[in-house]
């Protein structure tokens, strides 16, 4: 298959105009001893062959009833979102450098920023980051820049992958990253108070945390602020923001996390949607694109990328971040999703919680142990004897039951992190319970 419109004759004609005999003459600057190497790739395919070949590969992926969360969640994506985001005026455009022909992207991202402010309780949200983990890492860098302090405290109940990314970024920037232990499924706030000192840039907690437990954000913020540290609240399940009090209301300074749940698919883990929002006093230190409202020369409402002197293409090594391309189309999908679902997000989030509570109730009734007795949103931890065996057997029967936690927390053997969303029907749970009784 080829997407080259020029014929051999066209190419000949163009070469003649250029004043060369053949395209090869245009590659004179490449050293000849390394030019035109033999590259071994599979033979070219027609579109039809490529499609069928990839469908065959896709069919080796197994579709099951998945009660797996831990950073990516299975939520229904309304048809409107796929339909509208497939308009190629959106997805074949670049970053909106020319605002006069990019108002569609700009206005939709402005809406995204608005929605993120309203969900997080923050004043400013950027146009997106790569994913939740890198949004958190950039939030950490922002806190270090703002406070000019170099130690960061992060709760052990923050997603282990997020902590790993934090560790990578902290190492690269010579930041000291310290982990605050958890207790009964939440951040150990006594321990946090004990460790915290005035040279700490920020305290990082996740809510709902990796165990699904809703953290006491107000307490985290209060403790952080007593020591002039910023409070960063992260989340992996954006759906929870529909029901839970916004982190901003509870005292957070920076709120960041993963927005995949808002109209984007699990997709084997990407693309995802990083969200980063902050209080207005940090506006000029926020990384990434910001879209601002303005007017055109005839006084009409218009949108444009703004405060760009923070960014790499202007400020180079003194920029607030190196980020350039973000996850624009995922943010656009989130705008569409939230416009459609609107304030029904509260009801939808409530269904998530209710379904999860039902599942937990049924599992406890089977004699399994609820590990943390604390309020949760749509994820919880359950302890099952020989959890891995049970999980494997269930997988052969069409169920993916949670994530084994001892991978990340060696002390939590036989513990599974289970997620339930509106996509998990009551029948699915009842069938699961029946299966568990027979395994």
């Amino acid at each position: 298959m080829s997407f080259l419109p020029n014929s051999d004759d066209d190419i000949r004609l163009m070469c003649k105009e250029i004043g060369v005999d053949s395209p090869e003459d245009l590659f004179v600057d490449i050293p000849s001893r390394v030019k035109n190497p033999g590259i071994e790739l599979p033979s070219p395919l027609s579109e039809q062959e490529a499609f069928h070949s990839i469908v065959r590969i896709g069919n080796t992926n197994r579709r099951v009833c998945s009660l797996v969360g831990g950073g990516v969640y299975n939520h229904y994506v309304p048809a409107v979102v796929d339909h509208l985001s497939s308009r190629s005026e959106f997805y074949t455009a670049y970053t909106p450098y020319q605002p006069e022909v990019s108002q569609g992207t700009l206005a939709a991202i402005f809406e995204f920023q608005t929605y993120m402010c309203r969900l997080t309780g923050m004043d400013v949200a950027n146009a997106s980051m790569y994913d939740g983990a890198t949004a958190l890492a950039e939030s950490m860098l922002m806190a270090v820049r703002t406070t000019k302090k170099n130690t960061v405290l992060c709760s052990a109940a923050v997603h282990p992958h997020y902590r790993q990314v934090l560790a990578t970024y902290a190492w690269a920037s010579d930041i000291v990253l310290q982990i605050v232990p958890y207790k009964n499924g939440s951040t150990n706030y006594d321990e946090l108070s004990h460790i915290l000192h005035n040279d700490v840039a920020c305290v990082i907690v996740q809510s709902p945390n990796f165990f699904g437990v809703i953290e006491d954000i107000a307490k985290a913020a209060q403790i952080a602020h007593e020591h002039k540290a910023l409070c960063i609240v992260t989340f992996t399940e954006a759906m929870s923001l529909g029901l839970l009090e916004s982190p901003g209301q509870l005292g957070a300074d920076i709120v960041c996390g993963e927005g995949q749940s808002l109209g984007n698919y699990p997709a084997c883990g990407g693309p995802l949607l990083g969200i980063l929002a902050c209080r207005k006093e940090f506006m000029r230190t926020i990384p990434g694109r910001l879209i601002g409202k303005t007017v055109d020369q005839e006084g009409r409402e218009a949108y444009v990328m703004t405060l760009q002197t923070r960014e790499q293409h202007i400020r180079r090594e003194r920029a607030t971040s190196n980020i350039c391309t973000n996850e624009g189309l995922c943010a656009l999908r989130a705008s569409m999703y939230l416009s459609l679902v609107g304030n029904k997000l509260l009801e939808l989030a409530t269904v998530n919680h209710t379904a999860a509570s039902y599942c937990l109730e049924k599992l406890v009734a089977l004699g399994y142990e609820r590990v943390f007795d604390a309020p949760f949103f749509n994820e919880f931890v359950i302890k099952i004897n020989n959890a891995k065996d049970v999980r494997n057997k269930l997988m052969d029967n069409g169920y993916a039951l949670g994530i084994p936690l001892d991978t990340y927390y060696p002390e939590m053997s036989d513990c599974l992190l289970i997620a339930v969303t509106e996509c998990t029907a009551k029948d699915d749970i009842d069938t699961l319970v029946t299966l568990l009784q027979t395994i």
Binding site: P23, L26, Y94, A267, T294, E311, E317, G328
Partner: protein
């Protein structure tokens, strides 16, 4: 076309939203205490018809590759084959959860594994990671790998060399890893100034980052020498692969002496830019740098694909999961369709198209570097009648139905206009672009007011960026 811009919020009216949430049919068995719940939710109340018409209208205010030629230099705005999106919409891929990928999604791992192998074949690198979510993320990952390499060697090197023509992401990525940037000037031919490079070399230099071909659209004729100078001093050579489209299939960067590179799947490998992402910026390295790659890496044993975490010298994790899988899937599709011969033709046609435009335009516009170019070239506004500027030319091009080229970059050319036609434009389209540019030049003589007022036909007229920055309004307020 006259339009009144409006956001979704202007359509808000209580009671319009009829979206129906599926009911679970139970009450919570463990209600969340009220003090943890939100006191108000204030999104929007609109109908599904509102939503559809609103975003359809917004789409009409946008210009994408599917609307017309998009010669944005260094951005490689080529046609995005629709089959890419068709395979990326398959539920076999979109519905799969990353945490169970080894157990349930061997097919997805196969795609990633094979894509890595194909990128190795194309670039000559020994191993690729697909985790970085964009080019700049790849650069950052790459600079971290450089840092780790010297850390493990026990060498403290804190300088990274960057040519003055580099993308802004290069110095920004370097700074995020605690390195100092030392800028290396270009010579009058647009190549790296070798004497300046030699003078800058010492035991503090960890690496040099070079865009290849560079942002002037030129293939540096001293590239082998540069590699030798760096390697003699124990430094590494990083290739910013943003412009790989010019040389894909024609030369493997590893053969030129590069040790590490990123590629932009959303440029060379035809995945759409999405109005600013998602992209994908895989990093490839030579054998010696392989231990430092981020975790997990994908391995294959006995026809099973698995994730390997036991990599003690790794820089660690750089993404929540494995990177932008659906973008990788699109690039995989593209490479499978084109094969090695097709990719080589991509580079040849891209370079022919760019040189054709260069030759046609150089009689009308100032061309600071008068050489055969690769996939792009840079002209500027020097000598434009009536002091017409690059920005005015760019805005007027919008009226003629073209997206503007990249403007005011690279910084080493005053008033730069960086034109990258890509291989997917036909000669007739290029001729029309030349006609538009020549017409604009003529307007500069005959009717400069129209250029100063441009754009005239776009959905909105010139946008007031100064006001936006002076009084930032970053969210909708009633």
């Amino acid at each position: 076309m006259v339009s009144t811009m409006q956001t979704i919020f202007s359509l808000h009216k209580k009671g319009k939203n009829k979206y129906t949430v599926p009911q679970f049919g139970e009450k919570s068995f463990d209600p969340i205490p009220e003090h943890l719940c939100r006191s108000k939710l204030d999104l929007v109340d609109v109908s599904e018809v509102d939503v559809v018409r609103h975003y359809r209208k917004l789409s009409s205010l946008n210009f994408g590759v599917d609307n017309g030629m998009y010669p944005l230099g260094s951005c490689t705005m080529k046609y995005n084959p629709k089959i890419n999106d068709a395979v990326a919409s398959l539920v076999q891929f979109t519905g799969q959860h990353p945490a169970t990928i080894e157990e349930l999604s061997q097919g997805a791992l196969q795609i990633m594994y094979e894509l890595s192998q194909m990128l190795c074949a194309i670039t000559g690198m020994k191993r690729f990671t697909l985790m970085p979510a964009a080019g700049a993320h790849g650069e950052l990952t790459g600079v971290m790998i450089i840092k780790k390499y010297f850390e493990i060697k026990g060498e403290r090197r804190n300088v990274i060399l960057i040519p003055d023509s580099a993308h802004g992401t290069n110095p920004a990525s370097v700074a995020m890893c605690g390195f100092t940037v030392k800028e290396i000037p270009s010579n009058s031919d647009g190549d790296v100034d070798i004497d300046a490079l030699r003078a800058a070399m010492d035991e503090n230099v960890a690496a040099m980052m070079l865009t290849c071909p560079n942002t002037l659209g030129l293939f540096d004729r001293n590239i082998i020498t540069i590699a030798e100078i760096l390697h003699t001093h124990g430094a590494l050579f990083y290739c910013d692969g943003a412009n790989l489209n010019a040389i894909v299939g024609k030369v493997r960067p590893a053969d030129l002496g590069f040790d590490i590179m990123h590629v932009n799947l959303h440029k060379t490998f035809s995945t759409p830019h999405g109005g600013g992402g998602p992209g994908s910026g895989p990093i490839g390295v030579v054998e010696t740098l392989s231990p430092f790659m981020p975790v997990p890496v994908i391995e294959k044993k006995d026809a099973q694909y698995y994730l390997e975490y036991n990599r003690p010298q790794s820089i660690g994790r750089v993404h929540s999961f494995y990177g932008n899988f659906l973008i990788m899937l699109r690039a995989y599709t593209y490479i499978r369709m084109l094969g090695a011969s097709g990719l080589k033709q991509v580079a040849e046609h891209a370079v022919v198209n760019a040189n054709y435009l260069r030759v046609k335009l150089q009689t009308h516009f100032n061309l600071p570097y008068k050489r055969i170019c690769m996939h792009e070239f840079v002209i500027n506004d020097e000598g434009m009648p009536g002091g017409i500027t690059t920005n005015e030319i760019a805005k007027r091009l919008l009226d003629y139905g073209f997206h503007a080229p990249t403007v005011y970059f690279p910084l080493i050319v005053h008033g730069a206009i960086m034109v990258e036609p890509t291989e997917t434009e036909h000669k007739e389209t290029l001729d029309a672009f030349v006609d538009a540019m020549v017409a604009i030049k003529n307007e500069a003589h005959t009717n400069p007011e129209v250029l100063k007022a441009a754009p005239l036909t776009t959905p909105v007229r010139k946008v007031d960026a100064v006001l936006a920055a002076r009084k930032p309004v970053l969210q909708w307020e009633e």
